[in-house]
């Protein structure tokens, strides 16, 4: 379980996170939703120790993140994390060299799934294919948790569909996923937990299935209620 407890974060004088608390379970998809600048990416960066927090605590399976944690949690940011001059194949080799949790079989499967060619250079990829490579590099790790920052941002509808299909496949099964996105429609039916953020705090956190069953509302309905109040 990933536990984010009362986390605060300031950038200069701007308080971006004002005591954010939520948990993300293994085997569930947790979606962080909020307008731009609300601190969604900052939360993911903080979980990965890519930005320091001012106060609060972040635990992964009960422990603070350390070097070994990167074998069981990975982050897929909205920009590719490989060098532009590298090919897809070289990027995969890099991952294989450094991560014990790299699963070459799954990587090859993902190459086929996304219809990518190993000899293609990162710099020559379209935005959609770049997002797919980013996803490939994250999903091919045998990790317990996946953090994804805006995986659908700025990419074409067919690539979006392909990426959304990943969430229903065995590739994500049994893993804990935290995802930030604006494109809620593509994955609304897949989300287990929703965390709505506004002005640096969690304004509502709920189980989408429970809300659907008990109140007959979709995630978008709840979002409307919360953000249009």
């Amino acid at each position: 379980m990933i536990e984010v407890k009362d986390v605060t974060k300031k950038f200069g004088r701007k308080q971006v996170l004002k005591g954010v608390t939520f948990t993300a379970e293994k085997g569930e998809i947790t979606c962080l939703i909020g307008i731009n600048g609300v601190g969604k990416t900052t939360i993911l960066n903080a979980i990965m120790a890519l930005t320091p927090i001012n106060s609060g605590q972040i635990l992964i399976d009960g422990s603070a993140i350390n070097k070994k944690s990167y074998e069981k949690i990975t982050f897929i940011p909205d920009a590719i994390t490989m060098l532009p001059q590298m090919t897809i194949g070289q990027s995969m080799q890099f991952m294989q060299d450094f991560y014990e949790s790299w699963n070459q079989e799954r990587a090859t499967e993902l190459l086929g799934f996304f219809k990518l060619k190993p000899e293609e250079k990162i710099s020559s990829l379209s935005k959609g294919n770049t997002a797919k490579v980013n996803l490939l590099l994250g999903l091919a790790l045998d990790v317990d948790y996946l953090l994804m920052d805006e995986p659908f941002s700025g990419i074409d509808i067919f690539s979006r569909e392909q990426i959304a299909n990943v969430f229903t496949s065995h590739l994500v099964e049994d893993r804990g996923v935290i995802i930030t996105t604006h494109e809620i429609n593509d994955i609304e039916h897949l989300i287990d937990q929703v965390v709505l953020l506004d002005d640096g705090v969690v304004v509502k956190a709920f189980n989408s299935e429970e809300v659907r069953e008990n109140e007959g509302k979709s995630v978008v309905d709840v979002m409307r209620e919360v953000y249009q109040q």
Partner: protein
């Protein structure tokens, strides 16, 4: 350790094209310096001996013999050395900043590797050291080749042969790179290595605290400079030649160790606790 070596290998590969270009420029330019300097000297000699009817002895007396000093004074000889020094100095900054900027944020990947972040720091520092040592090794190999070329071009009557040792000693820039004694080696390279760690720490401060970090970095740089040269300052301004040179040397090794390990410790803290992508 294994991941550290892989990181070093990766860092070396990222700069290799530029590095090979630097090696190529150095070889071509320095050999050209030998050829052009020798030809120029021989043209003068031919003019004087065959046209102006001077004897070889008279020419040598008036103009001196051709030595390797004629070559090292040429911009074609010291130009590539300066180019390599400047490139590696810029690279000391670039080796970090290129990972933060641009569309492809490689720093995410480096910081998320399942290894101590200090390994990334050491891998970058090691790459710089290896590049520096590689260029010095190249210069050491080139000097005898250049001497041989000069000997082949200029007749023995007109040239003053120098040993490699003399060539290094008479040319200040090479003298700094290729020390004559172990003490000089420790001093020159110790200062260089400590300087790289200090620069890396300043970069870390800037990357962690951005604008505030620039001022912190400048402050850290000044502090590191003062601490490192403290024995010299004490000797010059407080105790007035109290220490023997050997004592100053030992004290500077101590202050160097303090600044070096201090920089590594601060960088490790920043990389683990304060770094921002």
């Amino acid at each position: 350790m294994n991941r550290y070596l892989k990181l070093v290998n990766f860092e070396l590969g990222r700069f290799m094209k530029i590095y090979i270009a630097l090696i190529g420029i150095t070889i071509v330019s320095q050999l050209a310096a030998v050829i052009i300097s020798s030809k120029s000297y021989l043209n003068n000699a031919n003019q004087a001996i065959h046209v102006d009817r001077m004897t070889i002895e008279a020419f040598v007396e008036q103009y001196g013999k051709m030595s390797f000093n004629n070559v090292t004074n040429s911009i074609l000889f010291f130009g590539p050395i300066a180019l390599c020094v400047v490139t590696l100095l810029i690279y000391t900054l670039f080796i970090w900043y290129r990972d933060w900027f641009g569309k492809n944020t490689f720093i995410y990947r480096l910081l998320m590797l399942p290894t101590a972040r200090l390994n990334v720091y050491f891998a970058k520092a090691t790459a710089i050291f290896l590049f520096v040592l590689g260029l010095i090794a190249l210069q050491l190999v080139l000097l005898p080749v250049e001497r041989l070329l000069l000997q082949k071009m200029v007749p023995v009557d007109l040239r003053l042969d120098m040993t490699i040792n003399e060539m290094i000693r008479y040319f200040d820039q090479i003298g700094v790179m290729i020390p004559n004694s172990f003490i000089e080696f420790v001093l020159h390279y110790g200062i260089g290595f400590v300087a790289v760690f200090v620069i890396f720490t300043i970069i870390m401060l800037e990357r962690c605290f951005r604008l505030k970090g620039i001022f912190l970095g400048i402050g850290y740089g000044v502090l590191a400079f003062i601490v490192f040269f403290l024995p010299v300052f004490i000797q010059e301004f407080i105790l007035f030649n109290y220490f023997y040179p050997a004592e100053i040397f030992v004290l500077m090794i101590l202050t160097g160790l303090i600044v070096g390990t201090g920089s590594i410790w601060v960088s490790n803290y920043l990389l683990t606790k304060k770094i921002r992508v």
